[in-house]
Amino acid sequence: MSNTADPVSYLDYQGRHKGILGWILSTDHKRIGILYMISMLSFFGVGVILGLLMRIELLMPGMTIVTPRVYNSLFTLHGMIMIFLFIIPGLPAVFGNFFLPLQIGAEDVAFPRLNLASWWIYMLGAAVALTSLFVGGGAPDTGWTFYVPYSVRSGTNVTLAVTGAFILGFSSILTGINFITTIHRLRAPGMSFTRMPLFVWTLYSTAWIQILATPVLAITLLLVIAERTLGLGLFDPAKGGDPILYQHLFWIYSHPAVYIMILPGMGVVSEIIPTFARKDIFGYKAIAISSLLIAFVGYLVWGHHMFTSGISDTARWIFSLLTFLVAIPSGIKIFNWVATLYKGSIDLRPPFLFTLTFIFLFSIGGLTGLVTGALATDVHVHDTYFVVGHFHYVMFGGTGMAFLAALLYWWPKMFGIMYNEKWIWRSWAFIFVGFNMLYFPMLIQGWMGHPRRYYDYVPRFHATHIVATVGSWVLVTGLLIFAITLFRSFKSRVPAPSNPWGGRTLEWTTTSPPPLLNFTQIPTVTRGPYEPAPTPTGGETS
């Protein structure tokens, strides 16, 4: 036992188990967060490779490298891995796990063992889903949405893949239960709900969606399994069933799930902006409430995924109208962020750079969302590349960029080391250019009528496909530089101070990396999350 001034960090703490067991059996929320991060980024890598393969196939009309059958599996797996393994659990499981207790001044989450179980269940689900690639009828080729009747008829391994998604849902639910209980029970003394950091607010909203929406997907997937194995006929028109009801049930989950993906990203942005604008956040309560509003409105709009599937006209205009409601809480957030930046003392460091990128790309995603949300225009662009482009602008440009921003913002806290900021800037240039080269042409193609998920295309789309494919290479180059820069920080080991960016939330008051129980003494909170401390520490002004 040492007598040094600093407490032993969670990275060095020697618990009951040594080595790798000390990680995969640890109930420490920080270690679990890192576990999620490693596993998730690995799956993300696989997803990226699948995406690259798809782009190479589309470089030329006709067959380039794979057969149509394999192409169908490629986009199915790319979607499944990216959505179920990366972007839905992404921010809550990695940064939520690591920083929720730190931000509310708690020692751990409410149910640490359940938390570890969530990770194991996540890995089990991932293993089952990935096994479906290699055994039996081959990789599923239904698209990530598993639409019936094809998912019931397909000879590929849909049953196993769906089982994997079902198990992953369990993990998501347990994480949600854990977070809500933690937020209700373990806030530090003085931390009222209106003193919680905004990231916590978004995690809270997200957790509610996880709890109330995921079970609907669970039962839907169970019924698909039952349909394939027992032939219940609930979705089979030949037996009286209605396939459109599958779409209803699927989107009752999957639309709110879109907010599971984006809300924590918005939370990260709300953390980073006041830190790098050196200001208190503008409109704290409005931003906090807007998270809950987005979560609620998310339940009212799922029908906009089904405008062309044959639902009633009444349902179509109601869902279209309600879809525009989402713009209100989203707008509240954007305007308050901008108002926070106004007259701020802006410090353009890498986390903030990626946050600005988030706002830019997400805005394009949001504006194209108006096109797809409006009934009249959606009928034209439905199931075209326009939707693919829109989705990637929202998900990768939104959540993906927020993930990268969070990684940069909290990296010093998680590992106690700084990275080379110059190289992050360089990687950003590649990522930004490559991203827009890759996805903007999709918007154009879709507008011109190029259907999504097609293996082949007519020559007039050739030029835009070439731009997009080259863009994918630029983008991946940027991501590689980004990853290598972070990896190299482990070698150069430039120590990070406890508060490198001048953040004001609680995680910056403890050491980098934090000790096992986060704080040497549980803090008492006397001010809002982004208000400056009464006695300025680092000569910072507000």
Binding site: V216, I244, L300, G303, S312, T314
Partner: protein, 92 residues
């Protein structure tokens, strides 16, 4: 939980008796062929029975108000899902 109230054995038995009576009522009404009214009464009685179990047996009675708010959120969500699906089904 020491801080938590518990009802007496007798009151639990009373609740159970009410549940049994309601069950026989619902079975009797179902036998009377009331048409559209029979499903309404059946669901109404099921709601009463469910509330009795939740309120007394599951001790919602003595829980913090937050538990009720949370339950309400879950039930409202379920209702919204049902109603909105029927925007499609009823007008096809």
């Amino acid at each position: 939980m020491k801080e938590q109230q518990s009802l007496s054995y007798g009151s639990y038995v009373l609740v159970w008796l009410a549940l049994v009576v309601l069950t026989s009522v619902t079975v009797t009404i179902a036998g009377m062929h009331l048409g559209a009214l029979s499903i309404a009464t059946a669901i109404f009685i099921a709601l009463i029975k469910g509330s009795l179990v939740v309120y007394y047996f599951m001790n919602l009675k003595n829980e913090d108000v937050m538990f009720r708010v949370m339950l309400l959120v879950a039930l409202v969500t379920l209702t919204v899902i049902m109603v909105f699906t029927f925007f499609d089904i009823s007008f096809r």
